[in-house]
């Protein structure tokens, strides 16, 4: 078995050499990758697109943008008031379709932070996936597409370690883990 092991390791090194032989400025054709699989990648896209389409619903691109919600406290009220005012309007009912995605802009004022991330129940609370971008005025923001008709819990993570609730959200919730999280309903 030892000599077999040696052969296998030599083959492993040869696979590295083969890749190097193609040159650093060329990508490797996918079918030649060590863990490549001609069918798996394609099959996965099929499944991913099914999930994407169920998010997008029957809507085309333009309607998503119309439903932006802002994170500042005044804006919450204003938006709510606006919705209340036109609640029975046919226009509102037309663009708010059940199940279609909304674009939500999460904003945090943190001029002294070096990084801000959004961690939420819709991404398994990963603090290194949705990175906010800093604007010159010190506010950080990110826009995310989320399905309507549901509520979401979230936190901002400052500098990779401080988990904070959204100061602009109406009310914080005890997360049972010693912290406070925010909730938004779409």
């Amino acid at each position: 078995m030892d000599s077999r092991r040696e052969e296998i390791r030599k083959l492993a090194l040869r696979m590295l050499d083969e890749r190097d032989g193609l040159g650093g400025s060329s990508p490797v054709p996918p079918e030649a990758l060590p863990f490549g699989d001609d069918e798996a990648g394609r099959a996965v896209v099929g499944r991913a697109m099914a999930a994407v389409r169920s998010m997008a619903g029957a809507a085309s691109g333009s309607e998503g943008r119309a439903a932006k919600l802002r994170g500042s406290r005044i804006a919450w009220l204003a938006a709510a008031a606006a919705l209340v005012a036109v609640a029975s309007s046919a226009l509102t009912l037309a663009f708010v379709r059940r199940g279609s995605p909304a674009e939500v802009r999460f904003v945090l004022e943190a001029p002294d932070a070096t990084s801000v991330w959004l961690a939420a129940d819709f991404n398994d609370w990963s603090p290194s996936e949705y990175e906010l971008e800093k604007a010159p005025d010190g506010t950080w923001s990110i826009t995310v597409r989320l399905r309507r008709g549901a509520s979401y819990s979230y936190n901002f993570v400052i500098d990779g370690e401080r988990w904070v609730a959204d100061p602009a959200a109406p009310s914080g919730l005890d997360d049972g883990l010693g912290g406070v999280c925010s909730s938004l309903s779409l």
Binding site: R9, V45, S141
Partner: protein, 204 residues
């Protein structure tokens, strides 16, 4: 075709597609996804060691990439983002090589080639041999420090070129080249050292 020209053409196309997909065009997103799904899958498979897990993670990464399109900044390359999403998905599952499922696959592959000469380069035995070699690579790469592991995964397992690897990691090209060189040397030691039965113990 001049590789540089090919690379440039590919780059511009990705960003154009991503910008169009950002407006909500799912078909465009699907095109983008198809461009990278093979590499994404290979990348995840190299990390996770299981085909089903790799498929789940790849699908997951694509859906999340779609979700975060609204905040896509076209000055950053699209695939850099999707690979970092994928890396994040598989990060917590980079389990030790000795899980039951992988042992079973390994044992099966070893059985398949037990009585065959190594020189036989065709047929299912050769495939099984390559699969075992790939597993050895996985194992060896798993033992590398994270700073060396990431460029290796993108360059060797996902098969990206140096420039794309650098973009995906947010590093300069020279930095990536130097890390790849160091990683290659370490892997050479781990895999070439036949005195150590378990290469992973060395170089930790």
């Amino acid at each position: 075709m001049n590789p540089c020209y090919f690379l440039l053409a590919m780059r511009v196309d990705d960003e154009t597609l991503a910008a169009r997909a950002k407006d909500g065009d799912e078909r465009t997103f699907e095109e983008l996804a198809l461009r990278y799904s093979d590499r994404l899958y290979a990348f995840c498979r190299a990390r996770l060691g299981s085909e089903n897990d790799a498929k789940d993670s790849t699908q997951d990464a694509l859906v999340r990439a779609y979700r975060s399109l609204p905040s896509y900044d076209s000055s950053k390359t699209w695939f850099a983002r999707v690979f970092s999403i994928a890396a994040n998905r598989v990060k917590s599952r980079y389990a030790a090589a000795s899980s039951a499922e992988r042992l079973a696959v390994r044992a099966a592959a070893e059985r398949a080639i037990a009585d065959e000469a190594v020189a036989d380069v065709s047929g299912p035995e050769a495939e099984a041999l390559r699969a075992l070699a790939a597993e050895e690579l996985r194992s060896a790469v798993a033992g590398l420090p994270a700073s060396l592991r990431s460029p290796v995964e993108l360059y060797y397992f996902a098969g990206l070129d140096v420039a794309s690897t650098a973009a995906a990691l947010g590093l300069g090209i020279e930095a990536v080249k130097s890390r790849l060189l160091r990683a290659r040397r370490r892997l050479g030691r781990i895999l070439g050292d036949t005195a150590q039965p378990d290469g992973r113990k060395k170089g930790m």
